[in-house]
Each structure stands twice: as C-alpha cells, then as structure tokens.
Point group: C2
Chain length 337, copies 2
DNA sequence: AACCGGCCTCTAACCGGTTGCATGGCAGAC
DNA sequence: GTCTGCCATGCAACCGGTTAGAGGCCGGTT
C-alpha cells in the first residue's frame, strides 16, 4: 500500500542501496543519479519510514526532554528554546514530565528512554533526585539545564552570583533587616536553591549584616508558596524592610501577601526576585533576569554536538550564562525613620 | 550486544513468538509460561526495541502535538493536560511548534508526521491556516483543541457564550460605552476570535447598545498587543468606560496601558478578560475562566479513543466545556457622573 | 597491454520485533 | 474408543530500511 524504497528503486532503475544513499545525501552517488532518484521519490510522494530507518541504523533521531513541570513559566520557556533548536536539526522531541503533582502516579522516566532516544535533556531536576540518577546511569548523551552534575555537561546561570546581585542591590539601598523567601534551606548542593541561598548569605556576611534565621521563610517555588512565605514574614513582630525572593513567581505571591496586609512593594517593603518573568514588568518587580530561552537553546545545541560527535558524553560544560539586574519600582532606598 | 527477544526466548525455552505475546499480555499464553517469560526478561533486563516493534506492527505508539506556541500560558497549560493523559496511556508525545515567530523558518509539520505518529493533536491553529489543512489531509486520527473543523473531533469552550458572559457583565454594571480589544475582526469563522467577537456584538445588540467601531482595537493576543490596543483606545477623544479584552494576556497589557495613563482598572475603566490565567488573580482582573488543562486532557482522551477504536477518525466532538465568570476588582458599576 | 586506483553501484545480510497459520496435545462429547 | 474443538506454542514470512563488502567501469601509468 504505502510506497517503499523498493518502489522508488525500481522506478529509478537503481538498487535500494543507491536510493538510500541518494536521499540522505551521502557521498559516493553520482550527481545525475542522485537527482533522478530524488525526483522519482518526490513524484511517488515517498517518505522514508522512520521505524525501518531506526531499526536498521540504530539511531532514533529523537531526544527526550525530561522536566518536572510543563505549565510553569520557566520550564515552558526553556522548552521552547530547546524545541526551536531540535526542530531545526530535524530531531524529534519526546516530552516527558516527571512531576507527581496532583497525586498522579508517574512512571520513572529512565526505562522509557532505553532504545527509544539518542539523547536526553533534563530540565532542573534536583541533583539529589533518584530519578535523575537513573537517567544519568543510562549513560547516553545527556545535557542538563539548571542543575550541575559531576561529569555531565550542563547549562546554568551562576546562581550564587545572581543571588549576590539581588542581595547587594538591597544592601546598597541601605536595608539591613532583609528577609529571604525560597526553597528549603537544606537543599542539596548543586541546586539553584542551594546556590542562591549561599550567594545571599555571602553578601550579608560581607556587608557585616547578621542574617536572622527567623527572617528566612521557605516554601514551594510557586505564587502560592511565595504568598505563604511572605505572610509568615509579615506576621513577625519585627518585619524585614526588604525581601529577597528566590524566584519571580514567589515574589508575585509575596506581593499579593503584602497587598493583603495593606502594604505596597517598594514603598513599605522592598522586594526583589530572580527570573525576569514576563509578568514581572507588569507588576513592577525588580528582578535579576536570566536568559531562560537561551538556557534551552544552548543545552540543546550541546546535546546535538554530543550526538554528532563521538556519541559519548562529553564533559565540557559551558560557562554560566549572564544575568542582569533589572531595577523597577518594587525596590527603594530604606526610608530613614 | 543488546539483549534481543531471541535471547529471552532461548533463556526461557520458548519461541520468540511466545515471548512477544507474553510480554505484551496478549491472550493465548499459559499463565505459567507468561510468568516465566516475564521473569526471564526482567532478569536479563530486556526492553523491547520500539523501532523493531513499530516496524513490525505498523503502529508507532506515539502522537504528535502541534502548537503555535510553547511558552505561552494557554498553550503550555493545555500541553500539560495532554501530556498527563498520554503518559498514563504509555504513548510517546512528539512536540512540534509551528510558529514562525522570531523570523524562524519552520518546516511545515505535515510531512514530518507521515509514518511517524499514529495520531495528531492540534492546539488552536486558526481554521484557515493552510498548515492545518495539510495536517488534516493526512487523514490520520486527529483531535483539535480550540478550533473546530467540519468532520474532525474537537474540544473547545463555547467562545460565543464566554464573550457573551463577559459583555453581559459589563452591560449589567451599567456600561454602554464599551471597548473591545482582540484579534483582527476579519478572523476566519470557527476561530475563538471570530466567536468572541460575535458573542460580544450579540450582547451589545440585545442591550440596545450600538457598538461604535472606533471602540474596537485589534492586535496580537499578547501582553504587548493588548497594551498597544488599549493605548489606542485611551487616546480617543471619548474613551470607553469599560473594555472587553479577548484574552487575559491582552487584558494585562491593557492594565499596563491604563497605569501609564494614570488610570486604575475598576475605578476609572472596567476591564474584563477571558482565560482565567493564573496571574489574573494577582492583578485582580475580572475574567471568564476556561478549564484549560481539561481542554488538553479531554482532547487527548478523544484521540486515544480513536487510536484504540477503528483507527478511523470519529466525528464525535464533545460538547463545549463550561466557562465561569470570576468577578474581581477590575470591573465596577459605571460611576454616575 | 597490463596494471592500478578511484568512483559508482549492486548484492545481500542484517536490524529486532510481530503475526498468520500450522501443529500438537488434551478435555469433553458422543 | 474415536471425534471434535480449543488452547498453547512454534514456524517462518514479513515490516522497510541501512551498510559492509564485492564488483565493474574508466582513465591514467609503467
């Protein structure tokens, strides 16, 4: 029923081997022959069967993208960067989410990858997540985004530096009672949480400010998590005058909590986030922007390089991508009482 | 090198046919045999080669999701709904974006689908887009989201009704000089734009209010598009007292334009959107919420039904999903001058 | 004239499953 | 005891490409 390579070979008067080479632009095919084969293939409306091609060649021409979330800004933006690169390269993108949010039972991703893809791209799965380890243990070409792992190429920002920038901004504005909103303080090393935590504390130390642990409030990296964390800070006997939120979405939640308390960001409490979320401009949030789409693009390119190269995982991680402080209305100098 | 079905067959003392049947839980295999085969397979750490399986069976076990955008809220949220269903069903999800934003040249999706997937899920590609037609012309099981097309199952909300609800809300608040922000008025029928436009006009008519075309301002369905459209309305000699934005993101842009003009949503001009975007709550935007993730889930289930069924495209579209007006601070009764 | 090397092209052996059909054994019906 | 029919299993022919290796042809050397 469907046209096969044999039909094309017959119609072009050559062997299937020649058709195969001609259509894939391999060398050792006469230009005339190649042209004729391609014309015949076009006339017959022939398309190579990926299944057969994969079986015969051993290459799948596809990579999996593994992400904890799909619908969150950071992840979908990274994903769009990844997709654009893979699409240009003609590589299929298999999307797999691993979150068990909403109580959904999800299969571990590693078994689903074997023999199915040529490489894997992992977005911001915590370095201590066993699922990440299983994936890495498969030993296939891999590229990480937003996590680092010994011996695996990864693309990240310098989270310590990003947090330092944010914290320094608050310190420079004269604040010394500075709150922290973020993920759990006990986060594993080599995660964004851990590094942002560290950068923040470094700056506090350098500025001779002692960070009062009671001003650290932790929760999920979501609007709701930020709202709750900020609410906790606002109900303290002595509120902070400025707050560093580890992500813009947490900062949005913090803004809502402030509004609920009749407070206004920038005027009553300074607030800075990290991300450069599209909405942060709308909400007039000062933030340390990261090039999210580039993270995806560069990681995808690094993965392609591995695929085209030895097929072995290379060890070259790119240097951290630059971040940029964007000052808006949510931060202001400490009002001298 | 890799374990094949023959290795398993040998180790279990049966034929490859039996292994194949046993591992896929097909009937006509003795329970004892099945168990033994499965144990042996597990011991050998055997995984079926998808390529071989696909070639032999003719089924790919994967579907493509085609979407104009990945990083926008509506699309990534739909996508997450789709993904959760497909993952549970053990179907691979191939992600393809078709936008040519940022001047990227993108291959038309249709050729990339042939022989590669068992079905296609299309998210909100305009009904008059030739790429959509090419995809539908492939004749494979298909499920549409946010578009309707004669003879193709689709999952949507009732866009006419959603717009009616929003418009009616403004009318009920006493407004009669009502502006419209949305996609181009000449949108093709069977698109969300078209229907929302129609619903809005219906309500205006029914209320005996004549819609002044100058109060219609059109642009992209983005924050920037909404900002521009609203700016145009605000520079009119006679501003509207209320505005209906066809999407929340456009409404966000409209809010920013208002703020730039020193105006406050709700107090100076009432504003209502459509979507139920996560951020709308933050910005206190009145909106008609649609169950976005459900759109994805239900469309995915409809596609699975087709795949498991005859393999033919069925014609049964689900009834439109319900929407819900969420009243917040951005709308208020018309202030009697 | 014989030889050589380079460039096409072909032959044929895979890749690793799936599945229609044949086979054989066993239980129940007569 | 024989016949019938069902169930479990095996045989072997695919599915549709890729690719190593074996010619074949041709022009240029010695």
């Amino acid at each position: 029923m469907a046209i096969t390579i044999r039909d094309v070979a017959r119609a072009a008067g050559v062997s299937t081997a020649t058709v195969s080479r001609a259509l894939r632009d391999l060398p050792n095919v006469d230009d005339q022959t190649r042209l004729r084969v391609q014309q015949v293939a076009a006339e017959l409306d022939y398309v190579i069967s990926p299944s057969a091609s994969r079986l015969a060649s051993g290459r799948t021409g596809s990579v999996a993208v593994i992400t904890p979330y799909i619908a969150r800004w950071f992840f979908s933006t990274v994903l769009s960067g990844v997709e654009s690169v893979l699409q240009s390269a003609g590589i299929d993108l298999l999307l797999m989410s691993v979150s068990n949010s909403s109580g959904q039972l999800r299969l571990p991703p590693a078994p689903r990858l074997r023999r199915r893809v040529d490489g894997v791209l992992v977005i911001a799965i915590p370095a201590d997540d066993p699922q990440l380890h299983e994936v890495l243990a498969l030993g296939m070409p891999t590229s990480l985004i937003g996590v680092t792992f010994e011996g695996v190429p990864s693309v990240t920002i310098d989270d310590v530096q990003a947090a330092r920038t944010a914290a320094r901004h608050l310190v420079n504005l004269g604040h010394h009672r500075i709150g922290l909103i973020g993920g759990a303080p006990g986060a594993a090393p080599f995660t964004a949480e851990y590094d942002r935590h560290r950068g923040f504390l470094e700056v506090m130390d350098e500025a001779g400010l002692q960070f009062d642990p009671i001003l650290g409030s932790y929760g999920h990296f979501t609007v709701a998590g930020g709202e709750q964390a900020m609410t906790d800070l606002l109900t303290l006997p002595a509120r902070p005058t400025a707050v560093f939120a580890m992500s813009d979405e947490m900062a949005f939640g913090a803004m809502r909590a402030m509004r609920s308390h009749g407070l206004q960001p920038g005027r009553d409490i300074s607030l800075v986030g990290i991300d450069g979320h599209e909405i942060s401009e709308l909400l007039d949030l000062t933030t340390v922007a990261q090039p999210v789409q580039d993270l995806g693009r560069i990681a995808a390119e690094a993965l392609l390089a591995q695929l085209h190269g030895s097929g072995e995982r290379t060890d070259e991680s790119t240097r951290p991508l630059p971040t940029q402080l964007i000052v808006r209305g949510s931060t202001a100098p400490l009002a001298r009482p």
